[in-house]
């Protein structure tokens, strides 16, 4: 393996059965022909990057990757196999509970996909409806069983809170049922009102109000309940189970955890996402996908036809590139890394960015510490539980 090799791969599948009311991802209701054309184009894009890619983590997101049919998946998986892109330690595919079949699940598993992220969002029928989700409660439970039966031992459940119309009682029962599934990972985030979505329009038409206090209470509830169910929060919106392997330092770490400050990632944390927050490199393939290679952020065309025709001409489909000054880049890495409970070990930060956090951001760190939002040890800086709730303010301070 070459030291400049990229070890993370994100693939965007820009199709959904139907558009959800809150969704601002680039995805569109599918037409069979375009999907087929996309699959071919993606095959080419994989070929174009394969040389510099030795994936340790792969993430197929969307959109709804599970909407691709068996034949299409077979083609993609076979292409990846041929290009020696399989065999990642963590390989996630996002699934919509309405589009999971046992055959498809087995196919994915057989090529090395070992993690499934399920877009559940809610377990309340009314809310699912209101969000424009195409699946029902029942489908969630059913597809969860199918995935387990197909041999997936690492499953993430996505949940949303502060949905208009969602009461605390509804949220609590969704949480209870969701953790009872027994998944290894939970990611849960507050509804975001993105411009150009139907939900945003409705907010602005004042069809409903945003209840900040309730949203905060729901977030606290999430942290409490997931904790009680054995999840460890490792990032603002991410929770994972921990299956400690025999490790001589485990006791010391456990003692540190007692003090309320996390120092290690839970074993089931999503490595792919951790790479983002650590400022790691990744290739992003598919329409609208973002990549970060050699300090340059790229974004593919958010237009599937354009994407396809570029690749059909043998070119990458990059629409924009952005390269920050070294300090700004390091600042960005610092800012986003602080979203993780374990914060930034100084040495690691320096290794990744080339900057020493202590002299460069000492003013900001001191301010955060005085506010009770930050904490510095000999080896790291991290946000306190209070600080994590203001990670945006902290990030803003770090940016240059």
């Amino acid at each position: 393996m070459n030291s400049t090799d990229i070890t993370s791969l994100y693939v965007h599948v820009p199709f959904c059965a139907q558009k959800c009311s809150y969704c601002a991802f680039f995805s569109e209701a599918s037409s069979g022909e375009l999907i087929q054309r996309y699959v071919q184009a993606l095959g080419r894009e994989l070929e174009l990057v394969a040389d510099s890619l030795r994936p340790r983590t792969i993430f197929f997101g969307g959109g709804t990757p599970s909407i691709l049919n068996l034949r299409q998946w077979e083609f993609l998986l076979e292409t990846m196999h041929r290009l020696k892109l399989t065999g990642a330690e963590e390989w996630t595919v996002e699934c919509n509970p309405a589009t999971v079949s046992l055959d498809k699940a087995r196919l994915l598993r057989s090529y090395g996909v070992n993690r499934i992220s399920m877009g559940v969002q809610s377990l309340d029928e009314n809310l699912l409806d209101r969000l424009g989700r195409i699946h029902s409660r029942e489908m969630v439970f059913k597809s969860y069983d199918i995935l387990r039966a197909a041999g997936f031992e690492n499953i993430n459940v996505d949940l949303m809170f502060a949905i208009p119309g969602q009461t605390m009682a509804i949220w609590q029962s969704t949480l209870t049922e969701a953790v009872a599934l027994g998944s290894e990972h939970l990611s849960s985030y507050e509804v975001i009102y993105e411009e150009d979505t139907p939900l945003y329009e409705r907010l602005h038409a004042q069809e409903f109000d945003v209840d900040e206090d309730l949203a905060c209470d729901m977030y606290e509830e999430l942290i409490a309940r997931s904790g009680a169910a054995g999840f460890r929060q490792y990032e603002i919106a991410n929770f994972a189970k921990h299956r400690p392997v025999a490790d001589p330092t485990a006791d010391k770490e456990a003692a540190a955890e007692e003090s309320g400050m996390t120092r290690i990632l839970p074993s089931q944390a999503c490595q792919h996402n951790v790479n983002y927050w650590r400022g790691g490199q990744y290739h992003g393939l598919g329409p609208s996908a973002a990549g970060y290679v050699g300090g340059v952020r790229t974004k593919n065309w958010s237009n599937t036809e354009m994407y396809c025709s570029r690749l059909e001409q043998g070119q990458r489909a990059v629409e924009t590139t952005e390269q920050l000054e070294p300090l700004a880049r390091a600042a960005e890495t610092a800012a986003f890394g602080l979203r993780m409970n374990i914060g930034w070990p100084f040495q690691q930060f320096r290794r990744i960015t080339g900057w020493d956090m202590r002299p460069e951001w000492s003013v900001e760190m001191d301010q955060l510490i005085t506010r009770g939002w930050g904490r510095a040890d000999a080896d790291r800086f991290q946000l306190t539980p209070a600080g994590l709730r203001f990670a945006d303010a902290a990030a803003e301070m770090f940016l240059r």
Binding site: Y10, S188, Y189, E190, I192, E212, D213, C216, Y219, I236, A237, N273, Y276, W277, Y282, G284, S288, A289, A290, Y292, R297, K299, E322, E332, A335, F336, R339, R371, L388, R389, F390, A391, D392, A393, A395, E396, L399
Partner: protein, 596 residues
């Protein structure tokens, strides 16, 4: 024209009783304006005036009229601003006349402004010709109007001319009455020229164009004249009259009205109401001159600090045609650099602000208006304070006096109770109640000017469902228990929110302001304490509770760039907010609170 054939008159009326329509009629009937292609209401030349239907400037127009007796007369009509804010300007215009047409809407009867204007005309000893207008209206009640003339204004009802300006009824009779009833101007007997400058406008080429009425002697181009109160000598470049467009005349003689120019660059150089006389052989000043003193002050600040110079230039332009408007630079901790502006009254203030916004496209914040307080200090000095920020510390003050007005409120009988309550809420005393007719009464009361600044007029309108009217005249100062109310945000006083209020009202006002501030200050990472304080004593407090979190989760690979840009933008935005300690107050909050 010999003085015996000159008549100078004004038209006074309550708003909308038909002053401008009648003026138009007179201009037509005298052939001053030949065709109907003129814009309706020609005398209201400023857009805003026409839109609001109010006359702001006093325009003189010269008409030639052949009377029934066969003789030719020069009739000078001096249109006056109708609104109370401009009462000094009304008196100035009136003092250029010998007579006044008093218009009463036959359907409305006497209104508050009718009363106030008649008082002014009587003080100038003018001959009043009552005109009952709009007799064409189906609900016109001429008999009632006559009774009111006698009862309220002590003017014999049978001297009234019945007219419809709209239908052209009674116009001839009015013109004849002007000739027969209004006395011709009489020379004062002074040794030389005496003329009254009663208004002005600015012309880019000619400089200040001053409207004048000659009382004695004559005014000609080439003369060296002295402006007695302004203390300036100038050479007259041009004299003329209006028909209603300006036209040059050889000279203006005793009793005539018109204008003169003299290369005067700034309207500030000619005090309104000043007496012009011969520089080489000066006469005494005409009686009645008063310096114009703004009654109401407000700070005007550019929302965008970069617009400061632009605002300054535009205030200068406004002042060219509005000599009653005063401004000077000031600065506020909260709002930065701006101007302290003085106005004749609230309408004047609104008009200036509206013109800045609309005609000059400026984004401005105007601070809460204040009257001028007289503050007697322990060292014996008396200070005039028009800005709460400059109110001295309590222990240096022996007493504070505030300006009072005599207010005339006319309202339907059934609203008397509510109206009395409103007046006493406004710290006023009703000292006179008069029955106008079977439906209405007039309450005369003494009220602090400060209390009628904001919502008095609107409240009257809403109590009476539009049927009430109000006018006022300035009277004296009266000692009052005024206090400075400070608004503190996290312990720091925000000057833009301070105001001077009566002690009895300070608590209520403090609570209302605190509540409003709580509404408009966005939640921040810390709790924000809002307090209202009088001389260090807290009278109201509110808390904007702290934001509990600011992250709306989720930030993966594709979001990073977008999120960073968003945070960068926020960081920039915070730099533009006004920071008080750790609290950021957005500009909009200032506007909202001042509107409260």
């Amino acid at each position: 024209m010999d003085a015996l054939h000159i008549r100078n008159f004004s038209i006074i009326a309550h708003i909308d009783h038909g002053k401008t329509t009648l003026s138009d009629r007179l201009l037509h009937r005298t052939g001053t304006i030949a065709t109907r292609d003129m814009e309706a209401q020609l005398l209201d030349s400023m857009d805003l005036e026409r839109e609001r239907g109010i006359t702001i400037k006093a325009h003189p127009v010269t008409m030639t009229y052949k009377a029934l007796n066969g003789e030719i007369y020069e009739l000078n009509l001096i249109d006056t601003p109708g609104h109370v804010d401009f009462s000094y300007e009304v008196s100035r215009s009136l003092s250029a006349c010998e007579g006044a047409l008093l218009i009463i809407d036959a359907a409305q009867g006497v209104e508050a402004q009718t009363v106030a204007n008649v008082h002014l005309a009587m003080k100038q000893n003018l001959t009043i010709i009552p005109v009952i207008n709009k007799i064409d209206l189906p609900h016109a009640d001429v008999a009632q109007a006559k009774v009111q003339l006698e009862d309220i204004l002590a003017i014999p009802g049978d001297t009234a001319i019945l007219a419809s300006a709209k239908e052209g009824i009674g116009i001839e009779e009015i013109l004849e009455a002007i000739v027969s009833r209004v006395p011709p101007p009489k020379p004062t007997g002074a040794v030389s020229l005496q003329a009254l400058g009663f208004d002005s406008f600015f012309d880019t080429y000619k400089g200040v164009v001053t409207h004048v009425r000659v009382f004695n002697g004559e005014l000609k181009a080439g003369m060296h004249i002295k402006l007695l109160h302004s203390g300036k000598n100038v050479e007259v470049k041009e004299v003329g009259s209006f028909n209603p467009k300006p036209y040059i005349r050889e000279k203006l003689e005793v009793g005539e009205t018109g204008y003169f120019t003299a290369n005067i660059k700034s309207p500030k150089d000619v005090k309104m109401g000043d007496t012009l006389t011969d520089a080489r052989n000066p006469s005494a000043a005409l009686p009645g001159f008063k310096e114009i003193h703004p009654m109401v002050f407000s700070g005007i600040y550019p929302i965008n600090t970069a617009d400061y110079e632009h605002l300054k230039a535009n205030l200068g332009k406004l002042q060219l045609n509005d000599s009653a408007f005063a401004y000077q630079a000031e600065s506020s901790v909260a709002l930065g650099f701006g101007f302290r502006c003085g106005f004749l009254g609230l309408l004047h203030l609104e008009i200036v602000q509206e013109r800045l916004r609309r005609e000059y496209n400026m984004d401005i914040i105007a601070t809460y208006p204040s009257v001028v307080y007289r503050v007697s200090m322990t060292d014996g000095m008396v200070r005039e304070v028009d800005n709460p920020a400059f109110m001295p510390e309590v222990n240096y003050i022996t007493k504070i006096e505030e300006p009072m007005v005599r207010a005339f409120v006319i309202c339907p009988n059934e609203n008397i109770g509510d109206m009395m309550a409103l007046i006493s809420e406004k710290r006023g005393n009703v000292d006179h109640t008069e029955t106008l007719d079977t439906r209405r009464v007039m309450l005369t009361s003494l009220i602090p000017l400060n209390e009628i600044l904001i919502d008095f007029h609107d409240r009257i309108k809403s109590i009476t469902r539009g049927f009430g009217s109000m006018d006022y005249e300035h009277t004296d100062y009266r000692e009052s228990d005024m206090v400075k109310l400070d608004m503190l945000v996290n312990g720091e006083s925000v000057d833009a929110f301070s105001c001077i209020v009566h002690r009895d009202k300070a608590d209520t006002r403090g609570r209302a302001l605190a509540a409003k501030l709580k509404e408009v200050i966005p939640t921040q990472q810390y709790a924000v304490a809002i307090q209202a304080a009088i001389g260090g004593k807290i009278v109201a407090r509110e808390t904007v509770s702290a934001m509990r979190k600011d992250v709306t989760a989720k930030c993966y690979g594709g979001d990073i760039s977008r999120k960073r840009k968003l945070l960068d933008k926020q960081k920039e935005g915070k730099k533009r907010m006004k920071a008080f300690g750790t609290v950021n107050i957005p500009q909009e909050a200032f506007i909202e609170v001042l509107k409260a």
